[in-house]
């Protein structure tokens, strides 16, 4: 008997018919003898409806009341799933984030989980219940309802799986796994049967919408075994593994596992910053204090002895970041703040990059051949990211997907295991 945490996203519970299908899946796992904890998102469209109501009534919704409002979405879907299960004779109990013992800080609509009291869930499991937990929400120490931010249901599931020491955390979604690139943009993209935690983290961090980045971070930190599956089709999905691939079989290592991209970011540059120690901290501290997440950071030496300092933020926070930066610019004697919201970021991700130089160079060559100008570059051990004009995003992604051979058709021989499929694909271009 295993303990399995299953998470169903908004599309998976998007209608009563779909909730019934989720109930079938949950009961099937229960019949196999497992203990099941289910984390649900709001029915698709419901969160948007609530967000529209909030911004319809006021331009800047109060964060506490915003959490109070949007947390109702999950409360609806979880109660419906519980009713559906109970109606079919399967004991089930739904719990709000607070009832499930999920304690967060008080940052309301961007709250972070501080701890989880396993007691309530374990008691209900011991009595034979399927326990359904509202994703995306918790309660602070004062008993106030908080929300983890959009996409936070993944975080709830992973944190619960880790705290309950679940055997697997299954993320059911509207895609059947992690792909080499978003199939809506790259039709020849292929599902990856496995991906390492580090790769998944980079993919999620740069816009792959399958898993929320924070969820992957927590899964990695707490070693929660994670699998991404489709709620609409049967299949093994993509397993997020913690093992590095063996170093003595370099042929099995893909150079690039996948390509992620997004238009969610905006670029800000503060020009002619006096080049002295501590200046980066002076610029970024007020941004951090305003709870704005900074992604790429690039600093160039400018010819006049000062320096230009560039970073990207989520596009929704561009205006806020711009006004903070303008104030900083005056304080520190910088000449100007420039911004650009019409950017896209494309990232190549793969553990193979560690042992294979030349990936970045090949990437720049491919983009150059398409006449795409690169505005910013940022690299890590297993990722190369570039910022380009947003209008070239699809063109660039498709060129890179083809250039790195990610869409190459596999010639399958004698019942290959999933692992073998991966090796063969890599062998094709390595």
């Amino acid at each position: 008997m295993a303990l399995i945490v299953q998470k169903y996203g908004g599309t998976s519970v998007g209608s009563l018919a779909r909730i019934r299908r989720v109930a079938e899946k949950v009961m099937a796992a229960k019949r196999e003898g497992h203990d099941i904890v289910v984390v649900v998102s709001a029915m698709s469209g419901d969160t948007d409806r609530l967000v529209d109501l909030a911004y319809g009534i006021t331009a800047e919704p109060n964060p506490r009341e915003y959490s109070m409002l949007v947390s109702t979405g999950e409360q609806v879907s979880m109660a419906l799933l519980a009713m559906c299960l109970i109606g079919q004779g399967c004991p089930a109990v739904s719990l709000t984030g607070g009832q499930a013992g999920i304690v967060t800080d008080s940052l309301y609509h961007k709250a972070r989980i501080l701890k989880i009291d396993n007691g309530p869930i374990q008691d209900l499991l011991a009595k034979g219940n399927i326990v359904i937990v509202a994703g995306f929400q918790g309660m602070d120490a004062e008993g106030q309802i908080t929300t983890l931010g959009r996409g936070g249901s993944d975080t709830t599931a992973v944190a619960l799986a880790a705290m309950l020491e679940a055997d697997e955390c299954q993320i059911y979604t509207d895609v059947d796994g992690v792909y080499t690139a978003d199939p809506r943009v790259v039709p020849e993209a292929r599902r990856l049967p496995r991906i390492t935690f580090e790769e998944m983290l980079e993919m999620a961090g740069v816009g792959a919408k399958v898993l929320h980045k924070r969820a992957v971070e927590i899964a990695g930190k707490l070693k929660a075994p994670l699998r991404v599956l489709s709620s609409f089709e049967d299949g093994p999905g993509t397993l997020i593994t913690f093992e590095e691939r063996s170093m003595d079989k370099p042929v099995e290592q893909p150079i690039v596992s996948g390509i992620a991209f997004n238009r969610n970011e905006a670029k800000l540059t503060i020009m002619n910053v006096p080049d002295r120690p501590g200046i980066a901290a002076a610029i970024l501290s007020p941004i951090g204090k305003a709870n704005i997440d900074v992604d790429m950071i690039v600093q160039n030496i400018s010819v006049e002895g000062g320096t230009d300092f560039t970073f990207t933020v989520h596009r929704e926070e561009y205006d806020k970041a711009h006004s903070i930066l303008s104030a900083i610019a005056k304080e520190i004697g910088a000449t100007e703040v420039r911004g650009n919201q019409k950017i896209a970021k494309i990232s190549l991700v793969g553990v193979g990059m560690r042992t294979n130089s030349g990936v970045a160079q090949k990437m720049f060559t491919i983009l150059g051949e398409e006449g795409i100008n690169i505005q910013l570059i940022s690299t890590s051990e297993i990722k190369v990211s570039v910022v380009i004009d947003e209008k070239y995003m699809e063109l660039g992604v498709r060129a890179l997907h083809a250039g790195f051979g990610l869409g190459v058709e596999l010639k399958e021989e004698f019942d290959p295991s999933l692992e073998q499929v991966v090796s063969k694909k890599i062998a094709n271009f390595d």
Copy 2:
């Protein structure tokens, strides 16, 4: 400075524009220097939407999960109102039933308030906040979300007003007060500037939809001063008073204050019950245990030595009551259970009946002249109720309204006070 509890029903918060209007009313009262506690219902249509979801997923929704589901309706409207107020610079905090300290029993979707911990609301008021409380819900001792049943937002408001010792509990609704009869059925019906608590209780109990019966009961028990007003028009509404009108001015006492009527009930008769002590309890105990409220109870001696026992229940509970009664019939040796769902109840209400016999007789005469057969009669000191075929309901109500002179045009002289208007109207037919 007074403490005022204001309750806004679903229609009053039925859209963002209407929530803005409610915010204006609340701020106006706050500007007058009062402390304000606001109780809100769900946006109109929202509860029906949630109930449809529940019955769409399963025929018999689990009561705990049902409360979990439908309690979200108020959580949405209260958060929106709080956001709207805060957005206009007016400090406000919304509280779920549980957060507001409303402790109920564990009867989930039909829960009763056991106690209210004033602390959370008083602390927030002391800090200058407008406190917005979700109507219709509470939390049991185990921390489970419960709901008070439909219409329960009135109950929340009245209970809070009593516990906080509010100076007035204002029930804002889509009508501008309590009428002599429902104006949709009787166009010449008139608003009553005052009505006694006992009359209001009888009116609410027999279908006047202005106030929930339980709310009136609690208001009466706890002496909470109550006023019914329109959220759409300015006006004094109807004050529910605790004073009896003076006995030495009988001319000022109306015989009949109002007529209430409904089609919400169904009639059940258990035939040829053995006529022995304790038989009524044997019949009604299982009904009560199933949480079915019984309204009218009539017992007749039947010719064969047995007795017929008739009572009415809410039409929604007819099937449940019928099956319980059929089992009882077998047990106690009764011959048959008969039922009729196509009934209507009409009630005349007025404290004047205490000192004026002949009201019932006049009522029967008027109905008889219209050819309407009376199936059941039940009387109290200040009420006469009859059950008739539902198809004659409107006809009967209009005939009674005219027959008792409730629609008589008033000749107003020299700036009459509300009280004078009442006396003159009565004088016209007494």
